[in-house]
Each structure stands twice: as C-alpha cells, then as structure tokens.
Symmetry: C2
Subunit: 355 residues, 2 copies
C-alpha cells in the first residue's frame, strides 16, 4: 500500500473526520458535495455544510487505498479512493471565502494545495499526536458529550477562539453562560496564521484565567485540533456545526467571527445564520457585539448595554497591546487579567517563556 503524507491542515481534518467532529462526514469529500457546498452551503443531500473538507494531492487513483501519515509522523489510517477530480479553486475561493485574493490566508492555503483532489471514506487507526500543552485537553465529541451529561448540563454554550481571552471575551462567555448550564471553551489549536499567538502560550493563558476567574463546575476547557480557514461567515457556520457535534446547544458568534483583514463586514458572520431555517443547524447562535470596560457603568459592557461614547470605553488595539506586552508592561486591569498578561509578557519578552 502506498503512503501519503498529509499536510498539517489535512492532518487536522483527518482528526476531526476520525473523532466525529465533522459528523456526518465519513471521509474527504467528493465533487457532488464540493459543488453543493460551494453553491448552496449544503451537502449534496441538502443538509447544512459550509466549507468543503477535501484532500488535494497529486497521488492516488480510483480504487486504490492509500496509507495516510500525519504531518507530525503518526500512521493515521487509510483512505479508499472513490473519486479523483479537479476542484475549480477560483470558484471555491469566491463562494467559500468571498474573495479570490491570494493574500487571504485561507485562499492562499487552498491555492498552495492545488486542485487535484481525491475523495473517499477514511479508516482511522490512530489520531495525530499533539504538543504537551495541548494533549490533556484533547477531548473527542464523545468525551465532551459524556462529560456534559455527567455534569448535568442540558444546555452548553461553545466558545471558539484562536486568541488569549482578555476581559472582553471573558465578559461575552459569561453573559452567554448566564442563560445556559455550562460553558465549553474550545480554542482552535490547529494551524493558524504566523502572527497568531501559538497554542502553547494560549493554553497557559486559558489555564490561569479559568483557575482564578471562572467557577470550575460551570466551565470545561477542550481543544479543537482543526485548522483555521479565516473564511469569516462560512467558517462561523462551520465552527457552530462542529461544536454541535461536541455536544453544544448554543454557540457564541462575535463581531467579525473567524475573519481576517477587511474581507468581511463586521456582522456578516452573524447575519449568515439567518440563511438557515430556525432549528435547521441544531445549534443556536448567540450573537455578541464588541465589548469593553465602560467607565460610566463601571463594568464590562457592549454598545447595547452601555450608554458610553468612545471616550468612556477602555479599548486598546491589538498592536498597542502587543507593544505593551513586548515592553513587559501589563495592559490595564480593565482590559486584561494580570495573570493572563504575565503569561503573554513571558512569551513576548522571551523571559522564561512557556515551553
């Protein structure tokens, strides 16, 4: 049997296919699903699915079974090839990413992979290995569903992130938690952009935050091995469906969810949920505005809950925060918990940076 080495992104997709995170998918998708997804955000059978999960390679022919090896070296299992086809990458880019701009990181990754695509069911013998910082939090959908049941949570809100959690997102997760039984913090630890903060540093940020500022019996931290696509609105749907598979009943959708640069309108990733019938996705989006510390109400708030103008809001740009952290300075306590700031300062200044 020939062996195919997967890219980091393909390896991540294999893991989600294998662990049930991409249910109902059972393998890398063929041309009928690809076409339906691009054109209508649905599988060929009509069920919602916003982003193709495909395996681009110049190897393999119909009828062949290939052995798959992860980018980190694990012998993962096999794919039985049922179809070989060419994807129209310009069409996919325009439909899924709403742009054909090669500077878009999701489009760029797709173009790098190429158009020749093999499709078919996978069989999993093993899951990819992960760095030590992440490994303890590798819960499968079956694991998290069992955990939610054990905790007695009937309603669970999922929170997707690829960043450290500062107070703005702490506020949003807690506002959501107030109306459900539990909170599932589920950061993406698969491939992200080079300027995103690496997973090991982020995990440490989540740990110190949860330890001090959340009640342990209401929050579960798990990791999502998926790669970021930066597909904005379509990825918000994608993220929601994956979290449904992990057992969530609600999903937080913030401003510019899964966006990058200025490819998407601020609320595009919220509005897109209205393209589905109520109940059709099987998970309820909770849509949040940008949040901040408000000096008038002396609390965290959004424009919906605070009468403040910009002058009364504690807001720092990402650039400003990175500069402060790089100088070893904590951002104001209204912006970031000191414990989280310290983890980031260590990472940015290289002084005893986490392993």
């Amino acid at each position: 049997m020939s062996t195919l080495e997967l890219s980091a992104r393909q390896t991540a997709d294999f893991e989600l296919l294998a662990n049930g995170g991409f249910k109902p998918l059972e393998g890398f998708q063929g041309s009928a699903d690809w076409q339906a997804i691009c054109d209508s955000m649905r599988l060929a059978d009509g069920s919602p699915w916003p982003i193709p999960v495909t395996l681009a390679t110049d190897r393999g022919e119909v009828g062949e079974t290939l052995s798959l090896v992860g980018s980190e070296g694990t012998r993962l299992g096999t794919i039985t090839i049922e179809e070989v086809y060419e994807r129209d990458l310009q069409h996919e880019a325009q439909q899924v990413y709403r742009t054909t701009d090669g500077q878009h990181p999701g489009v760029a990754a797709m173009l790098r992979e190429g158009s020749r695509t093999i499709a078919g069911p996978i069989s999993a013998d093993a899951l990819p290995s992960h760095i030590d910082a992440v490994a303890p939090y590798l819960l499968s959908p079956a694991d998290t569903r069992a955990k939610f049941a054990e905790l007695g949570w009937k309603t669970v809100v999922g929170f997707q992130t690829r960043n450290p959690i500062h107070r703005a997102h702490e506020y949003i997760t807690k506002a959501a938690l107030e109306i459900v039984d539990g909170l599932f913090i589920h950061p993406i630890v698969g491939e992200t952009k080079d300027d995103d903060i690496p997973a090991d540093t982020r995990m440490r940020c989540y740990e110190v935050l949860l330890e001090r500022y959340y009640p342990p019996d209401r929050v579960l931290l798990g990791v999502n091995p998926s790669a970021m696509r930066y597909a904005g609105p379509r990825e918000a749907i994608f993220h929601a469906l994956v979290r449904k598979n992990y057992g969530c009943t609600h999903f937080i959708v913030g401003r510019d969810h899964a966006g990058v640069g200025s490819y998407y309108g601020t609320f595009d990733a919220q509005v897109i949920f209205d393209e589905f019938e109520p109940g059709e996705l099987g998970i309820e989006p909770l849509k949040f505005e940008h949040s901040f510390w408000c000096n008038i109400t002396k609390g965290m708030a959004t424009a919906k809950t605070s009468p403040s103008g910009p002058e009364d809001r504690v807001f720092l740009s990402g650039t400003k925060v990175r500069e402060m952290l790089g100088r070893g300075e904590r951002p104001p306590e209204e912006f970031s918990r000191p414990e989280v700031a310290d983890v980031l300062i260590e990472a940015y200044t290289g002084s005893g940076a986490p392993a």
Copy 2:
C-alpha cells in the same frame, strides 16, 4: 342597565382584557376555562394559560349586561353575562397558588372576593385612569409592538419587576439584552403588597437608572397595569404570556420569580417552563440565578460565572437595605446606583418624597 363597581384587581384585569394584554381572552372566564386552568394550566381549548381571570361578585344574572365602573371611577364599559357559577376557592388556591394558606397574599385576595363568579365577554369604552407618574408609560401591546418594529428590534426580552432595580437586576437585564435586540422593562404597577414600594417611587427609580446607565436606543420602559398575584411558578408563566402579547420574544425568569414568603422553591418558577413543549408558549424564558458584585472578578456575576464564596460577594438583605435608606444612607455602589438610592432615601425619609 345596572352598574357594577370593580375592585382594584378587577379593574386591572379589565384593562388587560381590553388592551390585548390577556389575549386570547375576550372577557372574564367561565367555569370550563376555570376548571381547565386549575387542573392543567390550560384553557378549555388546550392553549397554555396558568391563572384564572375571573369576576367575583354577588351581582348580575345570566343574560344581563352590566355597566362596569373602575375602582378609580372611570366608566369602563360592559360585561354581557353568559354564565354565573361558584368557584371552588380551595381547589383554585391549591392548584394555582400551591397553598390554601389564607396568609398568602394572592390566596387572601381571592378569598376576600368570594366564590360567586360571573363570566362573559367585555366591551370597553375607556381604560382606567392612572397616577401621573405612571400615565406616560401606559403603552398597550399594540403600542409596544409598533415601537419595537419602529426600532427594528426583532428579538426583545421582557423584564417583569415590582421593585426598584438595583445592580443585581440591572446586571441580569443587561446580560439578557446582550443576546437580543432590545430590552422591555415592564414593571407591574397594579395592586401590590402593602410593603412593596409604591409605583410612583419606583417609576422615578427606573427613570434615573435608565437615564444614566442604559443606552436609550436599546431599552423601552412601559408599565403593566396588572395586579400581582404572588403565585410564583404559575405567575411566571402568566407574566411570560402577557409579555408575549406585548411583543416580547424572550422573558427573564429569576430566582423565586413572583414568589412571596417561602411558599415556593427557589427554582420552581424556572422549572415550570419545562412542563410545556418547546415553542408552545411562544416566548422563550431566560433563566437567571441570583446576582451580586463579586470582589474576585471585580464585576457583577452569579454563582454560575463567579468562583467566589459568600465572603467575596456584596450582598445585602432587603431589611438591611431598608434600614440604611431609612437612615438616609446609600447602600454600597456595588449594590445600588447612587441615583436610585437617592430616590429611595427621599421616599423612605419623607424628605421631599416624590409626589
């Protein structure tokens, strides 16, 4: 035509029947509806309805039309009597209030009214008049629905209260507002217990709070002329259905909602919503825990969102707060906004108390 003078509670019920707040009811209820409501929280036709709306009087016979005069003197309209019947007050008390204890204020009011009941459709010529503090906020269900549409609110959360809003409830209303388009603050200004704070003082509290701490374009203040029943769980359903008529899509249900004394379990008024099929009530309950300022997270929170023990929570009993206000002292800013405290101090100390 004979004239029947209504009690304050009956006058309030007439107003809600006339303005559509009690839709689908078109008059005071007959024995078939009364029986079905008591036994199954439903009208005789099966639709959800938790508390009978009845007219107890020793006057009137079947076929007669009575002219109705409100307790405040307004000639309101008429009732055409279709049925005269005796209510089993013990049964109603047990089923609706979960107690036959005559000390329960809702049961006491019912027993005072007596068991002879007339039923039939009403015809409204006028609505009851109200005190000046309340009159500007008398919005009918048609008014509020039009207002919500004008504001572009597709989702609106209703908040019931019979108290001033301190920070605990401010927090809950804002947490709810984060996931909907607008907030409808809808205090009950009909008959309440003697030790509840009078409506005029409360209206002033709401005004100063909204003026300073809420964004004007996200909040509407209206008044609900209904009388409190203190029926706890069943009244929570009642409050939700009435707010659905006013155009709300969501409704806040706190701990011990509409409860009094220790007749109901803390979460009874939340759990009762599970006795209906999802969607059946046509309004979604948002269930909240008791909230407080948390010294650890330095913000408002509940036990669901704060890791604090009691020692880290700013909590004051009602008695303690009343004592402080009576001495002209503001409660801590973490408990009550100073502007609200000042209104209450004026009312409690009689120094320039609101009209």
